[in-house]
Symmetry: C2
Subunit: 305 residues, 2 copies
């Protein structure tokens, strides 16, 4: 039997293949919190006085994110508010929304639920009933980002924090490596700044935490979490790549970390070479920032009519 | 039944998933030759008057390379010589050596066979009988490169051409992406120049041709080729990555091309950011260029004593 590498407690809950470390519940929780704080400091994700809007779906990632960011709020470093997007997926979304509401109430933070129906007069269920050539995730992602970005302005938030984890980040990196999509690569990272004042900067404090450790954190802290999978989730290239990285990680437990480290160096070089000079204008329909005359959300809505 | 996309010949030998093109034997051969010539021009791999040393193992890649480069020799643009390395692998290498000799004689080009035994007084078979902690491919690669580089100087060659194909190149790129090895990434490419005058520049004219099309080219041109696999070939990370790319290519037939295109853009940025300033000295034992006092080949030989 192995004891906790840090405190000697014989009751360990994780044995990290990548480092050989064995940790008890308390030391595991502390290690995750410390690692997130390290990312926040290293990447300068937060400033004193920030009002951070957490994109809170109620899933393990966003609930863990809220839990850890809340330690900054308790120390009066930042203020937190949260938005939950209700895509209108019957039998799936309601549970997540209720969990999100309970977390926000428990912590006493400003929170609102914004639905596709209220914002666009159509639910995702309705979108999927219309013959269309885009995948559900494409519609959902574009509409969700539109809502979150607008909510950030309504809350006067200075940052938007999302629950992207190490698996998400590595998948995005590898997908774009394989697709040769250098332009997309320059947009991946811990912090997304945009030239437009209508866009609130986005931060990813969990980008160095593997997905399964986030699940374990939520469990260890006994956080109420929505574990159901979306009924529309597709067999996608991202899923295929995710499976490849998972398989590789079995024999090469540090591979997601080394991919991320390598990418961060590459990105530094890319940013100098490919200075993106987007000039954002306002969408002539909804007024949201857009690189074209009509933003993607309004383009999709037009198509669906 | 489909006819050749280019000439209408009903006897097609390949249907390219990546482009939808169907080609007959003659048009396929021509398309490969044109593609290699395009790479040579685009990347400026050859100059008029070059003396190109082909690293000729007798396998499909190097035999195809020799066949295509020979069209440049026949037009008096370049001169060609060849070297075959005999690693000393009984039951395997001899066939390849004999095939190489026959190709060189057939074309009437200077050719020599250099063995590990002559150069280092040890065969790979003997190396593998000594308890050692490096893989066979590590020894073989270092010793082989040593021999080829020295042969280039002996022949007064101005370029070394190797048969690396699209699969090889994509594997190397992906391996280093995943390992986060940015320094190695800067060394991958169609042309490897070194600051040391003792190193002859290396070129990879076949880097945009998929492995299976090279096999088909050799077959279509009825070139004698050594098809056996090395008995020491290991289960390696490279092999694992190769299998992943092969599997992905089934559903995504352009993935090796897009990976290569993306990498070439990334490399351009990396080269500016990470200017490698290697200062090569001569190995104090063998006199070959080395970034350390003793080169890797001599280090290995010392260990094996």
């Amino acid at each position: 039997m192995e004891n906790c590498t840090k405190c000697g407690n014989p009751k360990i809950i994780i044995k990290r293949k990548q480092s050989g470390q064995a940790l008890c519940k308390e030391c595991f929780i502390e290690s995750i919190q410390k690692k997130v704080i390290k990312t926040i400091k290293k990447e300068e994700l937060l400033e004193k006085g920030d009002k951070v809007l957490v994109a809170l779906s109620g899933g393990k990632d966003s609930v863990t994110l809220l839990d850890i960011l809340d330690t900054f709020r308790k120390r009066n470093i930042i203020d937190i508010c949260a938005v939950t997007v209700d895509e209108g997926i019957s039998g799936y979304r309601q549970d997540g929304v209720e969990i999100a509401i309970r977390h926000a109430e428990r912590l006493g933070i400003e929170h609102k639920v914004v639905s596709f129906k209220d914002s666009f007069n159509i639910t995702l269920d309705e979108v999927m009933k219309i013959p269309n050539y885009r995948g559900s995730c494409t519609y959902c992602g574009v509409f969700r980002r539109w809502i979150i970005n607008r909510a950030a302005r309504d809350f006067s938030a200075t940052k938007i924090a999302t629950g992207h984890n190490l698996d998400d980040e590595t998948q995005a990196i590898l997908m774009n490596y394989l697709e040769g999509n250098v332009d997309n690569l320059t947009k991946i990272g811990p912090k997304t700044d945009s030239k437009s004042p209508l866009f609130t900067p986005k931060i990813k404090p969990l980008r160095e935490i593997p997905e399964k450790e986030i699940g374990l954190y939520a469990l260890a802290k006994d956080l109420e979490v929505h574990f159901a999978g979306c009924p529309y989730s597709e067999e996608s290239f991202r899923g295929e790549i995710g499976q490849i990285i998972k398989n590789l990680s079995k024999d090469h437990p540090t591979i997601m970390y080394s991919t991320l480290r390598g990418f961060d160096k590459i990105k530094k070089a890319l940013k100098k070479e490919y200075k993106s000079e987007f000039t954002f204008e306002s969408c002539t329909i909804c007024g949201e920032p857009s690189s074209n005359e009509i933003c993607r959300a309004c383009t999709f809505l037009n198509e669906l009519k």
